[in-house]
């Protein structure tokens, strides 16, 4: 298997012990400082033209997601149409970055967004629990890729990670990366299950060493999803990783981001932590479904001066 680890840190993945030594040698996270920093960056007041810019940017970063057992082809087509033209009454509204669906819906989604800039992302690897044999996970990935997925959202094996089998997690990510081929790989850590900030930092580095194109907070299926603090921590990780290796990795907070205000706070975090290089939907995404409606209502408010309401956006 070709190693995907960047040159500068290539030797740390040589064996389980070197990997463990590296991950446990990462500086510990000052939890209080991290949360205070995230909270203080959340107090910025973003108004008028800056707000309009931020809202359009946020819309263009949304991975419009439907991951329900009850997903039908009709619902996926509707989602695709909404991703291409989020606000049909205002064609200046940017398209979203992608739609995110289960592997069996990739073909339907691909058809729905054909001819637009919207990508199709598919969760894979026994999402959301990730509790399946590697062969099954890889088959899941190949299935999604062959159906035309542009991006693969994989989940790590949290059980192995928490048990300290870092190399197993590493090998799994590299195997999925290989199976993904040209599709960009997003690695979901499920931060709500990792217990500590130190673990989130280790998982971030582990994912990036294994060749992730994106690191993603959560599946949206557990109680604690993306928070400003864990996203800030991951943004610091991608910044430091680029400084050391020259490789840029994207970040995707997912789950629990429902209002424009929240989204703008995350954009402030991106700008102040990783920098403007990440203020682009190639490097930063929001995994969300209801967020888009709130962004559209805020956009309408800015355009007309009147508060909009849920009657003027689609119900999804």
């Amino acid at each position: 298997m070709p190693t995907t680890a960047p040159h500068a840190l290539a030797d740390v993945t040589a064996s389980d012990s070197t990997l463990r030594r590296f991950l446990h040698g990462l500086p510990g996270v000052d939890a209080v400082g991290l949360e205070a920093r995230a909270a203080s960056l959340g107090t910025r007041s973003i108004k008028t033209t800056a707000k309009a810019y931020a809202i359009d940017l946020a819309i263009s970063m949304v991975d419009l997601t439907t991951l329900e057992g009850a997903d039908t082809p009709g619902k996926v087509r509707a989602l695709g149409a909404k991703a291409v033209h989020p606000d049909p009454t205002d064609r200046t509204t940017p398209a979203t970055a992608a739609v995110c669906v289960y592997p069996d819906m990739v073909a339907t989604a691909k058809e729905a967004v054909a001819g637009s800039s919207v990508k199709v992302a598919s969760v894979a690897t026994a999402f959301p629990a990730g509790r399946a044999a590697l062969d099954v996970k890889l088959a899941d990935v190949r299935d999604a890729v062959s159906a035309g997925a542009d991006e693969i959202d994989m989940v790590i094996d949290r059980g192995a990670f928490l048990a300290g089998n870092y190399l197993k997690v590493y090998d799994e990510i590299t195997a999925v990366k290989e199976a993904s081929g040209a599709a960009r790989l997003k690695v979901i850590f499920e931060t709500g299950e990792l217990s500590t900030y130190d673990n989130i930092r280790r998982a971030s580095w582990l994912g990036m060493l294994a060749g992730a194109d994106f690191i993603k907070t959560s599946t949206g299926k557990v109680a604690v999803n993306a928070t400003p603090a864990n996203t800030l921590l991951m943004l610091e990780a991608v910044r430091d990783f680029r400084a050391q290796t020259g490789v840029q990795v994207g970040v995707k907070p997912a789950g629990g981001i429902r209002t424009s205000k929240d989204a703008i706070k995350f954009l402030v975090l991106v700008n102040e932590t990783a920098g403007t290089d990440w203020l682009d939907n190639h490097w930063f995404r929001f995994g969300a479904s209801s967020l888009l409606n709130d962004l559209l209502m805020q956009r309408q408010k800015l355009a007309t001066g009147r508060y909009s309401g849920p009657d003027y956006v689609t119900v999804d």
């Binding site: 309408q300 009147r306 508060y307 909009s308 309401g309 849920p310 009657d311 003027y312």
Partner: protein, 299 residues
């Protein structure tokens, strides 16, 4: 005893808004001075901004499903409970109404009694209005044809400026009795009885968000409410002629129901059902009874 009472530090009440079942200060942080009829300072009241109005509408929308979906009987019980709570705070309201409107104690007491009676009156109407304004319609065909009233939705209510308590309840109670939820703008110069009423609502069984109370400059708060796309109707009782016209124009954009200010000389007079029916929609259902049988009837 009297010495001891003068030794105590005075405890002033901080009047606050009532939004979504909570008592926030104005988002803007502003307050304005409220005086009695002779110009003596009574308290500072929060001066709401357009963002408070927006929050109130969000809260009212959130509460609408539960409140409109509750049985009419249940709404009646809840409103009656409000009257019970008002009765328990009678002395406080008598004092506040007397100060706000410059009335003597006995006149203020009469106003408060009339207000409690009004709550009870509207509480009784909750499960009777459907029979009065709805019913079966005779149609030429084998159908049951039934009309029933349904609440309009989120209603912005500008409370009357002069009658700060009885007037307020006379416009608010009919709105919520039928299952609407409300964002109420209090009388601008006498907001205190309304803000105290919010405390009564919070301690009765009215779900948070069904009534949201905003004090401040009526014109400032009413403008965003009238233009708001998620407000379904507006009662302009507290607007003067010029303001009412402006608001009516703003309200036309999403076809809000508008109740124009009606001259009311005497709020104690029997109100009739007009204020309830102003914020009701009629749903008519055609239900086939099946083909007529040989006997001329399918029953």
């Amino acid at each position: 005893m009297s010495d001891r009472s003068t030794d105590r530090l005075s405890v002033f009440k901080t009047y606050k808004l009532y939004v979504g079942g909570k008592f926030p200060r104005s988002e803007s942080g502003r307050v304005y001075e409220v005086t009695d009829s002779k110009g003596n300072w009574l308290a500072n009241a929060p001066q709401s901004s357009r963002k408070d109005a927006r929050d109130a509408v969000v809260a009212a929308r959130k509460a609408f499903g539960g409140w409109s979906g509750a049985t009419a009987y249940n709404r009646g019980q809840v409103l009656y409970r409000v009257a019970e709570m008002l009765e328990g705070r009678r002395d406080q309201f008598v004092r506040e109404v007397a100060e706000a409107e410059g009335l003597g104690r006995s006149k203020a007491a009469a106003v408060v009694d009339a207000t409690v009676d009004r709550w009870v009156w509207y509480a009784g109407w909750t499960d009777k209005i459907a029979q009065v304004v709805g019913g079966g319609n005779p149609v030429a065909g084998p159908f049951f044809n039934l009309s029933s009233p349904e609440p309009t939705g989120v209603v912005a209510v500008l409370a009357p400026q002069e009658s700060s308590f009885l007037g307020l309840v006379s416009v608010l109670a009919p709105v919520i009795a039928t299952g609407n939820t409300a964002a109420v703008v209090t009388s601008e110069k006498s907001p205190l009885p309304a803000l105290s009423l919010a405390e009564v609502l919070a301690t009765s069984d009215v779900p948070g968000g069904v009534v949201n109370v905003l004090s401040g400059r009526t014109a400032e708060i009413a403008a965003p409410l009238a233009a708001h796309q998620d407000v379904n109707a507006i009662d302009l009782a507290g607007a003067d002629e010029v303001l009412a016209k402006e608001l009516e124009i703003a309200a036309a954009d999403n076809l809000k129901r508008v109740l124009r200010p009606q001259p009311v000389d005497d709020w104690t007079a029997a109100p009739g059902t007009d204020r309830m029916t102003a914020f009701l929609e009629t749903k008519t259902v055609w239900h086939p009874t099946g083909a007529l049988g040989a006997s001329g009837s399918s029953y």
